[in-house]
Structure formats: structure tokens, C-alpha cells
Amino acid sequence: MLKNRIIPCLDVKNGRVVKGINFVDLKDAGDPVEQAKIYSDGGADEICFLDITASNENRETIYDVVKKTSKKCFVPLTVGGGVRTVEDINKLLNCGADKVSINTAAVQNPEVVVESSKKFGSQCIVVAIDAKKNGDNWEIFTHGGRNNTGTDAIEFAKKMEDTGAGELLVTSMDRDGTQVGYDIELMAKISSKVNIPVIASGGVGNLDHLVDGIKLGNASAVLAASIFHYGKHSVKEAKEYLDLKGIPVRI
């Protein structure tokens, strides 16, 4: 039976983890490689790096991080943030990323999704959808949530499936950072509309939120950042809790 996945996400800026796990045995709390290794040893089903490096001159740092991590972690590695072109994707894959997530570029230039999924296969193309509720609908935001495109998120999700995305990483901008739980309605709507897996993101504050994302939001995978940081919960704890709640997980 296929298991639901738990994906810890690390924000990386200029090659360093911005928030992170605060374990006593951690030699360097800012080292993304070491943190990723802790997650994968703890049973993370995948690892996600979100590169939030603002300046272009420091952009190269993420390649080095990916290269080092992929030599240490033997679970899938997804990298997103600032991915604009097919060449960006090619470079990340060559460094050892297994999947690349595309956000702003997928909205502005869907041809990137078409071309890259043809060239590298849909399996490594994740389209990241940042959506915010507006009345009864959700609208797509780009540039790390700063720009409202006015595009309907549900329709866009369907379009991305048809365009060649292998998975959708859906983040609720309303919930992101709030720790009040995923936007279940948004997850469930998108999940019922598309036939590709949906990864729920944005708003996790406790382990029940992970359960809800899967049970109510019908997500195939749940992504979380802050609950795994500072040792609040370990990935292992999260999996044991999901197992207790009857959700199939890899233990």
C-alpha cells in the first residue's frame, strides 16, 4: 500500500538554514546538509529545500548545498525557490536534486513547465501554487506571496496537470506561518480536481494538522517546516502519531 509522505522543509538563505532544528548534538545549526541528514535519518520521506536567497550573486550557494546533501541523504530531495528557467532546473538536477519546484515561473511562463517536463520527465517537476482566499475563490500569488495574479488557483492547478507537472505543492498564503492548520478546503478542492498527487503546505502548528491535511484535505503528502524546527516534534513522532490515527505511513 502506498504510504502518505511527511516532508520537512528547510528554508535556506545564502547557503545557510534560516530556521532550523535546535538539537544539542548539532555541531552547526545553520548547516543545511547536517539538518537534512538528521531528517532523513529520522525517517523523513523526502526533504525539501526552499531557497530564499534574495540576491542573485548568492544564488550559486544553493547548488553547493544540494550537491553536498545528495551525497549524504538517500531519500528524494526537492529544491525550490528562484527557479526561473529550464537551465536552472537542469543545474539543480545535475547537482543531485530529484525534483525541482517551480512557482513564479510556472505562472508567468507555463512553457517552462511544458519544456522541462518533456526534457526531464514529469516525475521531477513540482509546481508550487501559493494561493490566497478571495471570497469563494482562491487566487494565485507569485514572488514569494507578494504579487496577486488574480488567477483562479483551482483552474491553474488543473492547467498545470495538463501542462506536465508531476505533483502540486499547494501553500495557503492565509495560513502560512500562522500554525493554525492547513487550508483544508483549498487542499480538498484541488485534490479532487486533479489526478496528480497534492502536497499540502502552509499553517501546520501541531500533529493533528498533518492528520487533517491527509484525511480531510486528501493530500498525498504533507509538508511542514516550523513544527520540526527547534525540536518541537521529530519526524518520527509525527509518523507514529499518524500511524496511531490510522494513516498509512512508512515506519
Binding site: 538517500f74 528524494p76 526534457k119
Partner: protein, 208 residues
């Protein structure tokens, strides 16, 4: 011993390279190449494959003499080969992804789209699934039945002779996820991304 990972522009092979390098001890030399002479003289071959069946077959054919060299290695010399993902699928006579495409024909059978039962099953089949070992396979030495492996695929290999099947996984139906026919080994899942159990399978292949 020389183990060659065939580099034929089949998509991203860095994870395969990293995992084999991780497992290999000092007596094992891991080569990544499309050089026909190096392939011929190696002891074992790894045939990765990402993207579509058609794109991988096209990529093999784009390298002059590569298919002949692989045939010689596998069929005449009977040296061990491990196909991963589309690398395994290409063992078939024919695949139907994008368009009907002739495979290598090493193990009779077809590669068909997984039946998603009217949307009941999401495709691609992505994530960790358990394998049901149905036959003793040398690459499953010390691998427990029902171990979790990492999958990413929408198509499945349906061999004519079920005796070649060494493991299946349940997704919509019992999907063939590993085969062994004499010196030919293949996994539909990605051992290079399946954590310690996956690395053990790679280790088993290297130590055949």
C-alpha cells in the same frame, strides 16, 4: 571490479551515481560513461532511466552502437545488468508511453499505463510503497519482505512469463516492481532513493 553506470542522457542520474559511490568499497570502481569500450570491458552495468519510455529508447539509439554493445554484454557475455525505473521498462518488447516504441526485447512483455480506475488512483504513483517479494532474487539478499521502496512512475512492465517477477507492489493492481532473468535484474522503484534498504539492494548487486 568495474561497475559502469551508462550515461546516455536519460535524465538525472546524479542520485544513482551518489548511491553507488556511497556503497562501493575501495575494490570497486564506479564508472559513469557512454564509452562503448569501457562498457564492454566492465563487469557490471547499471542502466538508469528517467522520463518517458520513448525518450529513453531514443536516447539509447542516439548513441551509435550502444544498443549493440548492451545486447552483447547482456545476451552474449551474460554479464549482470541492473535496470532502474525506465531502465527496467526498456527490457520489454514494446512500450506505449507517448507512442508505440520498440524496447530492447530482453524480457518479453509490454509496458502499459497503470490503470487509475477512473481517477481512484493518482498518477504518477509517487512515494513509498511496500514490496512483496515473490521469488528469491540475489539482489534481495537480507532484504525483508514488505520493505518500503521509493516509486515514481505512471507505467508498468507486464512481462509474458511471470516467472521473471521477483517482487510486486500494490497500486491499483499488483504491479511488477522487480524482475530477475538469469543475469538481468531490474527494479521499477528507485533503490538509490530508498534509504538504507535501497542502498542494501545496490550493495547486493555490486557483490553479485
Amino acid at each position: 571490479m568495474n561497475v559502469t553506470i551508462v550515461d546516455y542522457n536519460s535524465g538525472n542520474i546524479s542520485s544513482v551515481i551518489n548511491s553507488f559511490s556511497e556503497v562501493a568499497n575501495e575494490k570497486v570502481n564506479i564508472e559513469v560513461t557512454s564509452d562503448l569500450n569501457k562498457i564492454k570491458s566492465s563487469d557490471k552495468i547499471v542502466l538508469p532511466g528517467q522520463g518517458s519510455f520513448k525518450s529513453c529508447v531514443d536516447a539509447l539509439n542516439n548513441i551509435n552502437g550502444l544498443v549493440d554493445t548492451l545486447n552483447e554484454f547482456v545476451i552474449n557475455d551474460k554479464k549482470p545488468l541492473l535496470g532502474i525505473c525506465v531502465g527496467l521498462q526498456m527490457f520489454a518488447d514494446v512500450g506505449y508511453e507517448e507512442t508505440e516504441t520498440k524496447g530492447l526485447g530482453w524480457i518479453s512483455g509490454k509496458v502499459l499505463k497503470i490503470d487509475n480506475q477512473d481517477g481512484k488512483y493518482k498518477l504518477p504513483h509517487i512515494g513509498w510503497n511496500q514490496i512483496n517479494i515473490v521469488k528469491d532474487s540475489k539482489i534481495f539478499k537480507n532484504i525483508e519482505n514488505n520493505s518500503h521502496m521509493y516509486f515514481v512512475h505512471s507505467y508498468e512492465f507486464v512481462p509474458e512469463d511471470k516467472n521473471v517477477v521477483s517482487a510486486t507492489t500494490e497500486y491499483s493492481s499488483n504491479i511488477v516492481c522487480s524482475v530477475e532473468k538469469e543475469n538481468i535484474f531490474g527494479t521499477q522503484f528507485h533503490p538509490e532513493k530508498s534509504d538504507k534498504t535501497g542502498l542494501k539492494i545496490i550493495d547486493n548487486f555490486i557483490n553479485l
